[in-house]
Amino acid sequence: MVDVLERPATRNEPPPEAHGPTGLLKWLTTTDHKVIGLSYTVTAVIMMVIGGAFAEIIRAQLATPNGTLVSLAQFNELFTMHGSVMIYLFAGPFAFGALANIIVPIQIGAPDMAFPRLNALSYWLYLTGSITMLSGFFTAGGAANFGWVGYAPLSNSLNTPGAGADLWIGGLLLTGFSAIFTGVNLVATIFYLRAPGMTMFRMPIFTWNMLVTAILILLAFPVLTAGLIMLYADRHFGTHIFSVAGGGVPVLWQHIFWFWGHPEVYILALPFFGMVTEIIAVFSRKPVFGYKGMVFATISIAALSLGVWAHHMFTTGVVLLPFFSAMSLLIAVPTGIKIFNWIGTMWRGEVWFSTAMMMSLGFLVTFLIGGLTGVYLASPPLDFFTHDTYFVVAHFHSVVMALVMAAMAGLYYWGPKITGYLLNEKIGRVQFWFLFVGTQVFTLPLYLVGLRGMPRRMAVYPHDPQWQFLNDLSSVGAVLIGISTLLFVANLVYSWKKYPAGANPWDGQTLEWFTTSPPPHHNFYRLPPIRSERPTWDYNHPEHRALPHGRRNGDGA
């Protein structure tokens, strides 16, 4: 079925009822970005729970130096699949498939994504890719066990024969194409389906960040896909791209992997930066401070992120240290600009501690820790000293746990737009404190145990029982984080259809808060005039438009 869409002008009557199949068939055949986005959201959250369960087992094993909960072989599978599930199947798809899919078209006043069927295909590739990767656990040899980075030559058919590794590659191929299609779709949507008056510099920061993320996806993911095909060829077609014996170069895999892998870090992070930016502005009742600076900071982060990949390879001894160190240090500058802009947004505002806002503040502090420790790692001598120890594990968990907080903020903030119902704020705040405190108790000891010399990916550490206390503390933190996840699920159940949201529960500023919750089939049946990046706010508070530098309200325009 095809709908020919007219852009509504100022019609006030509701649009024609949505038609078509219902139930399972609706889910299988839908091309509505909101339904697809919701499928993404649910799948990604399930993946987070699965990956989290692996993490809890890892932490239980490490609670004693000679843990016997799992075998050495199982431990390797567990952290490999923990990392893989979290990065490939949770954080990425959540960042660019879930909320972005739902919110970006609405924020720019579009009826849907530019290629709705391609969008549906992205979801099916993501779902089947996830199943493929996880099904490794059900094969005789177990799941992939070479770490989420799959370094050659450990990942060749000599060292890791078995279907688990191939399923890992296959799953990544599917999710990789899924990401690329989403990237294409986002760029086309943002370039071609904006509402009248929605110029590029009036797009909400979240949409801007998604545009930049989409471009990064298009730059990075094809490289990973190519690398995976080479890896597969080495495993099964007898090529020697990454093996020394046949004249190949193992380090080439690392170059390819990290050329995707570092941009991937920002593909994960930028969407969440965007969410937090919007949330902080709304709950401070102010416009985003330094909007243009924010956009340029995002673009420079993305640009620089393509030139830093070998900071993951400092200790290989074969990369150009000063270049990668300088580029990596430079990324701290636009990141710092963002942090100061967030503070500027709150400054002299009216800060309301909703769950979404508290999660965003939690993000800010946790991300600050992760960002500052990242600066150390950009300095080769300090990286030689901490590389592949728990210091690095702690660093990136500060970052990713900050992203988890931002994801939660996004769910509390935009969830009502999709479902029509708010979540319980009290449970939300309790969840926040468990998540925030748990994260610090989980990560901070890991920095220390790393500095005391504990390498990552250790199933046992009998040689230095001194490390045990810090590990135990970290495991306590992991339990607190686990409880916060359960609280979230409990909140979903408890608040089910309890608190109707209305169109605009938070006094939102951007277009998605102009339409109903949930929005009608093609999102809008009327649009406000768009004169700034806050059309809904301008419409609701015409006397409180953003001020040029130096002016106060009441000065007259």
Binding site: P8, T29, T31, A195, I299, F323, L527, P529
Partner: protein
């Protein structure tokens, strides 16, 4: 359209400059090639947009003064439901499983893919607007 073009051209330029510096300084080829490809990904679509931005009448979404009424009219044809993405996805799934469980799976896998592609194209034809 101009902003979009400049955005992509700017990125391409940056990757070109950084790629050149990197390649000359390090002599490491893989990174040089990948940065070169990144430059092209900025230049090709960026150049295309620049070309068109000079020839087309400005769109309502590029006009800061446009009102909702300015843009009223047909936006495009959007499929509201379709079974083909699911079919194509399953085809891709089975095709990838062939990498692991045996080449024979390519037969059902690729059949599904081809069937889905044909179906999707026919669907667009029937819709008549795409």
């Amino acid at each position: 359209m101009k902003v979009e073009a400049r955005f992509l051209l700017g990125l391409g330029l940056f990757f070109g400059v950084v790629g050149l510096i990197y390649w000359l300084w390090s002599g490491e080829d893989a990174g040089g090639v990948m940065l070169g490809a990144a430059m092209l990904l900025g230049f090709l679509p960026g150049g295309y947009y620049l070309y068109w931005s000079r020839r087309m009448t400005p769109r309502p979404e590029d006009d800061p003064e446009a009102t909702p009424a300015t843009g009223a009219g047909v936006v495009g044809a959007f499929p509201s439901t379709s079974i083909w993405p699911f079919t194509l996805g399953m085809g891709a799934f089975v095709t990838v499983l062939a990498l692991v469980f045996g080449i024979w799976l390519l037969v059902p896998g690729l059949s599904l893919v081809v069937w889905a592609l044909l179906g999707a194209v026919a669907e667009s034809r029937r819709g008549g607007h795409v």
